[in-house]
Structures are given as structure tokens and as C-alpha cells.
């Protein structure tokens, strides 16, 4: 029994035992000086382990990984390109061959159609700024994002790191669609059915100064 308890002391020190095991060991510690020496050893070992861990920047290895992803994406794209063999020339492609007259004629017609379409549709549907959060993207042209989503304006503690902000947002199934604004606020889109719980959870977090409902994402200053 004593050996069994001794063997559990490292997890008593790292606080991962269940309540019953913890109570048994705490009781034994009051009675047994040898066990108290053991727990002292493990506590000091724990401190040493944390002090001696190799420090690193938050972005350690990130650039290297993103470069590998970029290479992989490029390679798979080129592999796909190579894998698809050129189709045999059809009747149309013979008509549209570079030295034929039909090809420039089609190009001119297409240009006319595009110009007319642009004139009719206008610039309203063309977003001038696009925010790219953790997807889906929201644009200033549709600043209230999709109907099934709600907007929140959130002010983070300035000491909060980017990684923490990202995780806080992700933990509420949200994504950043704008900001920071004049007051340092970010705009988050969250699923409509989660907006109440997300607001409560964000307000309870010590890294967040303010959470308010928002109706639109202001244009960058």
C-alpha cells in the first residue's frame, strides 16, 4: 500500500490525481515524514523541469512549415497539370487554332460582353477590402456577414498574445472579420446559435476587456 502511494506521488505533485486518491495521499503525508521528503523531491524536480525547458519564440518553426506547405501545394498543382494529358484536337480547336480568324473574333466579342456587364453591374458588388479570418471570409460590401452569423466587438487586454487571441476566438467557433478599430476592438463573427454562450464565455475571460454586440464592421481608418 505504501509503495503504491509512493508511486503516485509524481501525479500528486502535478495535481492530476482524482479526489479520492488525492485525499488518501494527503492523509498519509500528514503521518509519514519519509513520504514528505519524497514529495519535496518531486516538487523541486517539477520546478527544475519547468526552469530547464528550452525557451522558444511563439512562431518557432512556423515559417519553415508554411514554406513546406507552399512547396507541397505548388508540387501537387504541377503534378495535376502534368497528369492531365492534352485532349485530342476537336473540330472547335481546329477552328480556334492560333492562325485561324475565328479566335480573335471571339476574343473581341468576349471583351464587349465583359465591358457591358461591368457597366450594368457597377462597382457595388466589388468589395474594396476583404478580411480573411479563419474562414469564411466577410467583406465590407457585406459587413454584417451571413444571416446565420452574429457580430461581436471585442477589446482584448493589450498583454494578450496573438496566439491567445486566435485560440480564444477559435474556442467560440468564431473568426475575426475586422479590426483593430480606433479603440483597439476586433470584430468577431460567431454562429448565431452560439452568440449568447460565446459572449458569456468571452466576458468571463480575463484576457478580454469588453464584449459588445455589433451590427457592422467599420471601414479601416
Amino acid at each position: 500500500m505504501h509503495d503504491e502511494l509512493d508511486s503516485m506521488l509524481p501525479w500528486y505533485a502535478n495535481d492530476t490525481l482524482d479526489d479520492r486518491e488525492r485525499a488518501v495521499i494527503a492523509q498519509q503525508l500528514l503521518l509519514d515524514p519519509a513520504m514528505r521528503r519524497e514529495i519535496t523531491f518531486w516538487n523541486e524536480t517539477a520546478i527544475h523541469q519547468r526552469r530547464s525547458a528550452a525557451p522558444a519564440a511563439e512562431d518557432i518553426g512556423l515559417l519553415r512549415t508554411l514554406e513546406r506547405i507552399r512547396r507541397q501545394t505548388h508540387m501537387s498543382a504541377s503534378t495535376k497539370g502534368n497528369a492531365s494529358s492534352p485532349p485530342p484536337p476537336s473540330g472547335w480547336s481546329r477552328w480556334l487554332r492560333p492562325d485561324g480568324w475565328l479566335r480573335p473574333a471571339f476574343a473581341c466579342a468576349l471583351l464587349v460582353v465583359i465591358a457591358e456587364s461591368a457597366f450594368l453591374v457597377g462597382h457595388v458588388t466589388q468589395p474594396d477590402v476583404t478580411y480573411r479570418g479563419a474562414t469564411p471570409a466577410a467583406t465590407l460590401a457585406t459587413p454584417t456577414v451571413a444571416l446565420e452569423e452574429s457580430l461581436l466587438s471585442v477589446v482584448f487586454d493589450p498583454a494578450t498574445s496573438e496566439a491567445e487571441i486566435r485560440l480564444l476566438v477559435a474556442s467560440q467557433s468564431g473568426w475575426i472579420v475586422g479590426g483593430p478599430g480606433n479603440g483597439g476592438e476586433y470584430y468577431l463573427a460567431v454562429p448565431r446559435d452560439k452568440v449568447v454562450s460565446a459572449t458569456d464565455a468571452l466576458r468571463a475571460n480575463h484576457s478580454i476587456k469588453q464584449v459588445m454586440a455589433a451590427t457592422s464592421v467599420p471601414r479601416p481608418q
Binding site: 502535478n14 503525508l29 514528505r36 516538487n43 527544475h48 518553426g61 506547405i69 474556442s171
Partner: protein, 216 residues
């Protein structure tokens, strides 16, 4: 240090990964990574990169190699995000991937593996506790550091997982691929070896155990 002190340590000590990812958040992010969302991937990278690096540095003696392990591990997550089923903690899964990469590297030719020297393991009986208790705190910290560096890789890894990562017994066993009792035995032996190593250090410095005990 009594039990009360230990309880107060828990918040500062083992929950200090500011960017700890719970499984629900991890699954949400991985779902986005499956759709090749780089932003979600960067979130995971920033949350786990430093931890993988610290883990790798316990095994490897080169920061450059440890950074490569971070990149290898994260690239695998990018390629196969759907492999995480939520059966373990997300961090355990990630460190498990890192562990495989590290072991591959250690198995590579031209690599000398470290192990505890036999004189520390065998030459001194380990039942006497006075070597540890007898040393002054500062002297002890330096000694413990030196002795931990001499532990075998498995023992160092076990220490790291329990005391840096704050993992429960079952998670350590899962990650190391062994029964829980083996994990307990590893820590038991690690403790013995550290104490024997401290004893050897004292003897090497010309102390006797009894003299040191009287100084404390």
C-alpha cells in the same frame, strides 16, 4: 514543502501553457485545416510549436534539429488533420507525432545515443536518503540539474511529460506506448538514479555523506 504548498503550486506550475488547446477547439480548427485553411493551421502551430520544441530539446542536443521536429510534426498535422479522433488530449496526440519523428532521427546512423552511465546506476546503494536531504538548496538545484542531464532519454522524457506538460499517468503511458506501471517504474528508477548521482557528486567533491548532512 508540505501538501498545502503543493496544492498552491498547481495553477502556477502545471496549467501555465497559456495557449492550451482543448479538444473541442482543436477539432474545430482541424476541421478547418482539412479545408486547407492556413489561418486555422497557424493557430494550432502557435499553440503547440513551443511545446513540441521543448519536448524535442529533451531528446536532441541541437536547437536546429528540434525546430525541424516542430516543422515535421506540424506539417503532418497539415497533411492529415482528420487523424485526430479526440480519443486522447490533443496535446498528447501532437507530442506523439513529435515523438515518432524524434525516434526516427535518433535511430538514424551516425547518431550516438545517450544513456545513464553505469557507475551512477550500479555502484552505489540507493536506500540512504541523506544525499538529497543533506545538500543545501542551491547546491542541490545545481546537482539535480546536472544529474537529470545524465538520465536516459526515456527517463528524461517521462519527467518532462509529468512535470512540464503536467500529464496524468494514463496520458503518459499512452504517449510512451507502455503500461501505466512501467511509467511508475521509470519515475521510481529516475529518482533513484538522481539520488545516486547526487551522492557521487558529493563524493567527487571530497565530502562524505555524513559531513554534508551535518552542514545542512
Amino acid at each position: 514543502m508540505g501538501p498545502n504548498t503543493n496544492t498552491s503550486m498547481k495553477t502556477a506550475a502545471f496549467r501555465d501553457h497559456a495557449c492550451d488547446l482543448d479538444n473541442a477547439t482543436a477539432l474545430y480548427l482541424l476541421q478547418r485545416v482539412s479545408a486547407k485553411d492556413q489561418d486555422a493551421f497557424v493557430t494550432i502551430h502557435r499553440a503547440m510549436g513551443r511545446r513540441v520544441f521543448a519536448f524535442a530539446m529533451r531528446h536532441l542536443d541541437s536547437a536546429e534539429q528540434a525546430e525541424e521536429i516542430v516543422s515535421d510534426t506540424m506539417f503532418e498535422i497539415w497533411k492529415y488533420p482528420q487523424r485526430f479522433a479526440g480519443l486522447s488530449k490533443f496535446s498528447t496526440w501532437v507530442l506523439g507525432i513529435a515523438r515518432h519523428r524524434i525516434l526516427d532521427r535518433l535511430r538514424a546512423p551516425n547518431r550516438t545515443t545517450e544513456a545513464l552511465t553505469s557507475d551512477i546506476e550500479d555502484s552505489v546503494p540507493s536506500t540512504d536518503e541523506s544525499a538529497y536531504d543533506g545538500m543545501a538548496a542551491l547546491q542541490r538545484e545545481g546537482g539535480v540539474r546536472s544529474c537529470m542531464d545524465k538520465l536516459s532519454i526515456q527517463h528524461r522524457e517521462c519527467m518532462h511529460l509529468v512535470f512540464y506538460e503536467g500529464m496524468p499517468l494514463g496520458e503518459v503511458a499512452r504517449l510512451q506506448g507502455c503500461p501505466e506501471n512501467t511509467v511508475k517504474t521509470r519515475l521510481f528508477h529516475a529518482r533513484r538514479k538522481i539520488q545516486n548521482c547526487l551522492r557521487l557528486l558529493l563524493v567527487g567533491e571530497g565530502h562524505t555523506i555524513s559531513r554534508v548532512a551535518t552542514h545542512a
